[in-house]
């Protein structure tokens, strides 16, 4: 696997060691006003960004931590956190 991922605990490691945890969609929705539709969207709908996306990874064959990285889905390379857009 050409991808490398930087674990906050272990540093830059081979992509084989990690498990993908999906796009970063924020915390579980609030109980109030929750509809089956909005729940389903939260669980199953993805943005599928063609470009830089924030996503979760687990260092499963390492320290076991879950963390987020930014990855350019077009090049499959990890990138620095893009500066907050104004």
């Amino acid at each position: 696997m050409a991808l490398t991922i930087s674990c906050p605990n272990c540093g830059k490691r081979n992509g084989y060691e990690f498990r993908y945890g999906g796009e970063d969609k924020g915390p579980r929705p609030a109980e109030e006003g929750l509809t089956p539709q909005s729940w389903c969207d939260y669980v199953h709908m993805n943005n599928c960004v063609a470009g830089i996306q924030k996503e979760w990874w687990c260092h499963k064959n390492g320290c076991g931590a879950w963390f987020t990285i930014f990855r350019n889905t077009l090049t499959n390379l990890e990138v620095e956190e893009p500066e907050a857009k104004l």
Binding site: A2, V43, W66
Partner: protein, 972 residues
Amino acid sequence: MNRLTKLPTLRIDPSENRSLQYKGQTYQGVAGDTVATALYANGVRVFARSLKYHRPRGLYSLDGECSNTCMQVDDIPNVRTENTLLKNGMQVKDQNVKGSAEFDWMGFMDKLDCLMPAGFYYRTMHKPASLWPIAMKQVRNAAGLGKIAPDFRMKGDYTEIYPRAAVCVIGGGAAGMTAALAAAESGLRVVLLDARPWLGGCFDYRVSAYDQEKALYQRARELAKAVEATPNIRVFKHTAVVGVYNNNLITAFQVGGESDSFNERYLEIRATSVVVATGCIERPLLFENNERPGIMQVGCAHRLARTYGLLPGNQAVFSIGHDLGLEAAADLFDLGLQIACVADIRADGQDPQLLLALTKRNIPFLRGWVACEAHGSRQVEKVTLSTIDGSAKRQFGCDLLVASAGLTPITGPLTLAQAKLKYDMHTGYFLPVDLPAKTHIAGRLTGLQHALAIEASGRLAGLNAAADCGFDTAKSAAEAGQQLNALPGPERGTRLVSAPVKGRKSFICFDEDTTLKNIKQAIEMGFDVPELIKRFTSAGTGPGQGGIPGHNLPLLVSEYQARTGAKPIPTTVRPPLVPTFIATYAGANHDMCKRTPLHDLQKKAGGVFRRMGVWRRARYFSEDFSCREEILNVRNNVGLLDASTLGKFRIHGPDALKALQRVYVSNMAKVAEGRVKYSAMCNDDGCVIDDGVVVKLAENDYYFTTSTGRAGETVEWIRFHTRYDGWDFHLVNLTDAMGVINISGPNACKVLAKVADTDLANEAFPFSSYREFTIRKKIPVRAMRLGFVGELSYELHADASYMPALWQIIEEAGQEFGIRNFGVEAQNVLRLEKCHIILGQESEQRTNLLDLGLGFLWHRNKPDAKTVGAVALRQTEKDPGRFRLVGFKMEDPQRPPRDGSIIVDQRIRGYVCTARKSFTLNESVGLALVDAELAALGTRLEIFEDECNGKRLDARIVPMPFYDPQGERMKM
């Protein structure tokens, strides 16, 4: 054939014999020979027949650029024998022949080329449609490469390594070696790869002067020595690069030598910076019969003599387009080859020194001439030369025609790294216009031919690569750059592809039998892009991976189209760049599995082990796989089970309970001290993924079990579902640190009472409770009274190191009662009689908590959004179209269906999860998932399985559990 045994450039050891079997005879070669050179030494000239036309094919390159020397070696088809090292006792066969390579009954196919124009396969055999299957069978019979036996098993050892390198240099020629040395100066870890079994590249076999003192080959050996003496350069020889990926990941495979422990090994190299110094191969010359045996490339002829000590022929004609051809002619002449004529397609631009060398040797030299036809049916006997425009012709007799139009850089690795290639008018090469990050090129690949310039470019690339790794090499790189600029730059290359011929028998691709005429046909049919012409004519899609037509095809297309300003467009390449065994990709076949702490004891006790998930577990304890005795002993007496594979976890910290509440469907606040709570975990779709028990060790401190299959993912699962919360808890996987013994049966209490330092009376330690005590005042255990098998039963959890002792103590104590082991299969039947589910057996991916009848576990007052799976459960609650878990009895008590059999009426209505003959009940019982509307008690089910001979098996839905419905036995 006599070997030239005294040459200093040899890569063979003439004193050491190797032999192979070919056509029922033993052929002698020597150490260092390839299979093809050994055959060549024994006079073999025709190695194979071509794909479509069954034309004879001989040695042409020496680096596996075409399928000409593909043979079957030790039952492996399509082995490129020209770069496969000879090993003693190899069994070699020719392939794609009826008869032999020399006398092939299918040779008449060559006359039928008019019936097979470009793309005939696609265009001619589809109308009427019924023709296609017949045609396909015939075509496949006549064409094709080797055949593999259906029961063939790959022999040998295949391994893999994953080296890390600061700088990876692809190509161990002069440029690659100087690059590696330059990068290594900074102390960086350098990996150097070369496809040949030695370093040296194009210097290796050449005796021309490098400087006043040394010949090129001496310089190559000097560099190789320096490289091998540098501790931070790791050299992989006989290692072909097959893939280059982003992030500078390089894959390659290495062929093992006689002293290596592996046959081939796969390498995956992650490098910070990459230097590509792959050099050049030759660009074939197109003329009529340009692939007759006896025709070969310059490097092939030269290296046959210089590397393998084989003079390639007696009387030769050269038709070449670059200085290496002139150099080879002079050198081969000195080694004893007679040369009738050297024709150079270039009108000017030759190295005057080389021309002088030819003159001195009285070798006739023709400028602007080219071979236009080779004659001879099985081997070249005569060649017609013509001027480039075809205005004049001459014939020469010969048994060797050395032919080469020019050079072409090996850019495969660069293309894979996403470098854009563009046609360069000066060199005539496809060269990268912008290189990917941290990638450098050096050597002949860039068009350089001058030895010092090749090395200077290597040094510059090596220093730049070191700079990528954070070293300040700016000053030395600037010096190296100046040095390079002072030396001769890239040399002008030739553009001519084809002699002035119509091209009916001029082959642009040997592997696929594609001729010049085929390409012209394709263009006339409207194909204009080389990539599409490649697809349509299949030129370049064979084992050689475009090595032969890769450069010529785009040149030819742009020339033939004659559009003004049309620049040649290269075709694409894909990994693997060279044919690779799937066995090499598969690598070592380690069967890695875990053993419980009781493995050896169980083995001694006659356990029959099976692989279950990551574990090897004792499934049976006798050859009776129905486990009758094991089962009845648990029901009537007492049995002992190794349950150490259960997932075991501790979670503690202020927020431990919150985490449990998140992932379990039950109200975990209700876990009381001294009690065992059974619960389940669902995923966000409400589907059950795990079940197990939780006990409270202390405040904010819990111990819980998961099913065997989930043990590996549980920590990850809980952390994933709490990842946004920032809760403070610690989660420890104790699965391997602790073992579990299950002691079950009506006499279980009596056995345990003998060794446990606690009161086991029903009042003191009732069903579904949890206690901690010691065994024989020594071994601390966590004990749970559970009833998975439906009897009085204790589950003892203890540290793994205590397990063998604990087991032996209990076994000894139980001897007077007749205690015996039971295995996983006996447990399976016992729990089936009790209708206790095993996830994965009674569930699959779609099965949710409610389907299994476990809805009572779900605590509906917890906030849905805070419990994984609750929202979906709420939604599916009213869904009538789901499966239900039901228990059934077979009408025929002796005939349980197979697990996984389907339940049918007019269509499939469900499937059997587990079904067994129950000795306890003297019935055949089972659990099944069926459509909810069939789930009512008393419903008749019809079961179909492969073995039922079309006669469906009858079953009836009955109440669950089948055994001890009141649950009295586990509470006694």
